[in-house]
């Protein structure tokens, strides 16, 4: 049976359409994907992301142990700051992409993908010598308030001065009287916050935000627009765009791989791969003919399959069909053309710069 977040009843009450996602029964939409997408881009939307997991590292060995399994460099991160990066296998394959919140050198919270909760916890426990590693996924709920009006709305309910919580920073505080970790993070490309709270506080917090957000027409949002929003930013989705068989270098995440920071799991393989060169690269593309390229569709050139689409949708903000695909590096340059096999029909595509959407696209 599918898992449910503490907000399940609130979703049903609000008339959400529920679907199974990564083992969870989650809202895919309320008002409709396009309306919710537009709300986040132009006003503000509220997501339940409680299905995400939390693995916490504590103790004197916490920082060193996490550094030894994380591709990015946590030594550059201050207390109260968050950092995105990957966990990799020895082979360089991606175990998960995660955000680490550094509460202190002896207290780091790793936010992991919903479908990877157990896998990550076991893998981290096996590799984190000497640290106290706990799976606190069931002890946290998480709401994401995203959009250009998020800060103004949240400030009315929150005792933290949000002007001092810059992007990828966080602070403990209260929202509507409920204790939260207030983090200026998210996966939509808009300004916004993720509120980590106790499961029992999730519904009161959700209701208080919706009530307070009336002037901003705060829109409850489902996973449908979360996917179209993240894809417009070319943010990778674990399980679609990357997995245990792809490396961060192939997935275009070299910017979160710090090969010079010291030893970490996967470093040798990634270094070898960087020296030998990549055999495939994840790129953004746009269709130049009608159609939608979807996950798993083959990429073809001169009648030969040369790659695979990993994500694709019609961009609500841009009105064009966009996607991500693995291509041979020779074809990965901006302006390269190829075709996507859309159910037997070749549809012309061009490699374009990402993110697809920028705030100036508005």
């Amino acid at each position: 049976m599918a898992l449910r977040t503490p907000l399940y009843d609130a979703h049903v009450r609000a008339g959400a359409r529920l679907v199974e996602f990564a083992g969870w029964e989650m809202p895919v939409q309320y008002a409709g994907l396009l309306a919710e997408h537009a709300a986040v881009r132009t006003q503000v939307g509220l997501f339940d992301v409680s299905h995400m997991g939390e693995v916490v590292f504590r103790g004197p060995r916490a920082l060193a142990a996490l550094q030894a399994v994380f591709t990015n460099d946590l030594s550059t991160v201050a207390d109260g700051q968050a950092q995105y990066g990957c966990l990799c296998r020895e082979s360089g394959g991606i175990v998960d992409d995660v955000v680490v919140y550094r509460r202190g050198a002896e207290d780091l919270l790793v936010c992991v993908n919903a479908g990877n909760r157990q896998k990550d916890f076991e893998w981290l426990s096996d590799h984190a010598a000497g640290a106290d590693v706990r799976n606190e996924s069931d002890e946290w709920a998480q709401l994401a308030l995203q959009g250009p009006l998020a800060a103004a709305l949240l400030q009315r309910l929150c005792d933290v001065n949000l002007a001092q919580v810059k992007t990828y920073r966080f602070a403990p505080g209260t929202v509507a009287g409920r204790a939260c970790l207030v983090a200026r993070t998210g996966y939509t490309g808009e300004d916004g916050f993720e509120l980590f709270c106790r499961p029992d506080d999730a519904t009161p917090l959700w209701d208080a935000l919706l009530e307070a957000g009336r002037p901003e027409q705060l829109q409850p949002c489902g996973l449908g627009c979360r996917d179209s929003l993240r894809l417009e930013m070319a943010y990778r989705l674990y399980g679609s765009d990357m997995d245990d068989e792809t490396t961060p270098l192939e997935a275009g995440l070299a910017w979160v791989v710090k090969l010079d920071k010291g030893e970490f799991v996967g470093r040798q393989a990634l270094r070898r791969q960087r020296e030998a060169g990549l055999s495939r690269k994840l790129v953004g593309f746009q269709l130049s003919q009608p159609g939608i390229a979807r996950h798993g569709y083959p990429v073809v050139q001169d009648g030969r399959a040369i790659g695979t689409v990993t994500s694709g949708t019609r961009s609500p903000s841009l009105g064009t069909s966009i996607g991500l695909a693995y291509l041979p590096p020779a074809l990965a340059a901006e302006g390269s053309t190829f075709a996507v096999d859309v159910r037997g029909r070749p549809v012309a595509a061009t490699v374009v710069k990402t993110p697809f959407y920028t705030r100036s696209s508005r």
């Binding site: 396009l34 449908g224 159609g291 939608i292």
Partner: protein, 128 residues
């Protein structure tokens, strides 16, 4: 859910409206609601032959691809081309502006095998 009484229906959630010698085809209110926001419609060309129960096109929403199945066999005599530019019409007005194609049926007997509104409504109720 709105299911007009003067239409016939398929179990794949198309509707069929018999007018003069042609059958106008679209998808039902239930189908558009289940699909969510429709963003792409792929339709045949005038003159194409379609076969009852076989795919004549595709409707894509932001999350799903769904085939469109012909309620009757025959020749496509009209295509609602504006839908290609404005696929959201399928959500907004599935029974009028959101129609898809008109078929000149080759075997009028097939029409009798479609569901009437009562049978279709019962079928939908089972699915919900």
């Amino acid at each position: 859910m709105n299911f007009p009484e003067d239409l016939k229906y398929t179990r794949e959630h198309e509707w069929a409206r018999l007018s003069a010698a042609k059958v106008v085809v679209g998808v039902t209110d239930f189908a558009q609601d289940q699909l969510g926001d429709v963003v792409y419609v792929e339709l045949p060309a005038v003159g194409d032959e379609v076969k009852r129960g076989e795919s004549f096109g595709v409707v894509e929403s932001t999350k799903a691809v769904s085939e469109l199945f012909a309620p009757v066999s025959g020749k496509v005599v009209e295509v609602n081309d504006p839908l290609v530019e404005a696929p959201e019409t399928v959500n907004e007005d599935p029974y009028e502006e959101g129609w898809m194609i008109a078929i000149e049926p080759s075997d009028p007997k097939e029409l009798a095998e479609l569901l009437d509104v009562k049978a279709y409504a019962a079928f939908v109720a089972e699915q919900e």
